[in-house]
């Protein structure tokens, strides 16, 4: 009986083993085999060969177990482990790929930043050059301005000096003039009055010798005036005698004075002569003194350039 039972158990084991050998591989083992095929043909073979090898070892153990004992729990355990290890190989391969991308991005970023720095440096150098040029130009301009200012200052100083000199000269001449003639400022300008009796003999228009000395001083005073000013020599008589005589006499006397002044250096184109006759007395002709005062020559230095008749 016992022998029979033992035989039966042995037969059962042998039959079970035979059945196991003929059984199809479990789903886990099939999946693990497929996973290995996929992984060994993908990124894992290149990037994570060690992890792929670990998966392969687990798969080999699962295959060995299946070949020896069929679809056992041990076979399924090894297949399960193989699947996880192969998946881990793939995961690590993808992670490595991402790491490479990060490194490449970092390298590319550094290159871009380097290019930016280079561009900025070039721009900065250009700006510096431009600034340098501008400074140089400004310096040149400043020097030009300084030179111009210096020249203008010198010119102004020379003008001022000339003006002061002219004013001094004029003041001196006017002082001398005051000794020989009456000088006064009127609205029509500076009026220099010379007595007719000092200049001419009665009813004559030839200058007396004594007159010439006085007129020399008048000429100096007139030359010291503003050269742009116009001047008029006016001849005046008293009321004795007819106008047909007094008028030409006054003109001739004015002309004689004007010509003499021109001969002494007064600009001829600036000075003219007019005969006023007895028409513009400065006082009545009742007394001989008054008449003597009315017989006169007035030299008018106009205030305005075109202010004269």
């Amino acid at each position: 009986m016992t022998i029979e039972r033992a035989r039966l158990a042995l037969v059962s084991i042998l039959v079970g083993t035979a059945i196991a050998c003929a059984t199809n591989p479990p789903a886990q083992l099939v999946a693990a085999r497929e996973a290995y095929v996929a992984s060994s043909g993908g990124l894992s073979a290149k990037l994570t060969p060690t992890e792929l090898h670990d998966g392969k070892k687990a798969l080999d153990q699962a295959n060995d177990e299946f070949e020896r004992n069929g679809d056992t729990l041990i076979c399924r355990d090894y297949a399960y482990i193989a699947q996880r290890k192969l998946e881990l190989a793939d995961v690590k391969a993808r992670t490595e790929l991402d790491r490479q991308k990060i490194a490449q991005a970092a390298t590319a970023g550094v290159a871009v930043r380097d290019a930016q720095v280079k561009t900025a440096r070039v721009a900065l150098a250009s700006s510096r050059e431009q600034l340098k040029d501008e400074r140089r130009d400004n310096k040149i301009t400043t020097n030009d301005l300084r030179a111009t200012n210096s020249a203008q200052t010198k010119e102004l100083e020379a003008e001022k000096e000339a003006r002061l000199s002219a004013e001094g000269k004029l003041a001196g001449a006017m002082k001398d003039l005051a000794a020989v003639a009456a000088v006064k400022e009127e609205t029509r300008g500076l009026v220099i009055t010379l007595s007719g009796s000092v200049l001419f003999a009665s009813n004559k228009y030839a200058l007396l010798n004594t007159a010439m000395t006085k007129l020399d001083q008048v000429a100096e005073a007139l030359k010291a005036q503003d050269p742009d000013k116009r001047m008029v020599v006016e001849g005046h008589t008293d009321n004795r005698g007819p106008d047909r005589v007094n008028q030409p006499l006054s003109l001739n006397r004015a002309t004689a004075v004007r010509d003499y002044l021109v001969s002494r250096g007064v600009a001829g184109e600036k000075i003219s002569a007019v005969g006023m006759g007895s028409g513009k007395p400065i006082t009545d002709n009742k007394t001989s003194e008054n008449r003597a005062n009315n017989r006169r020559v007035e030299i008018v230095v106009a205030n305005a350039t075109l202010g004269l008749r």
Binding site: L73, R84, L88, D98, A108, V112, Q116
Partner: protein, 116 residues
Amino acid sequence: MIKRLIASLGVLGITGCAAVAIPPAQLESSEASIRGAEEMGASGVPNARLHLQLAREQTDSAKKLAAGGDQRAVLVLARAESDAELALGLAREASVHSEALKAAASLAALHTLTNP
């Protein structure tokens, strides 16, 4: 021969009933992988979370099998460790992939700055 076979089965039976000692280094390695996966944030990554959970469950199963004298405890613990390592790998992949996307975006922005 039959006697010998029966004796062998008897020995197997006695051994099967005794507690199985799991190699401490293997248990430690498995639990370290689980902790590593947790620290890497596997719980926040869906597929990593699944494997982390499987690792925990299988570690517990391995301990129970060992206590029950089942030799398979060692293999179940190996399964747990492979799940823990996969969870760790998946969590790390998610983190690195996120960094890669950020790096690509930064580079694109840099290019845009350079060539607007």
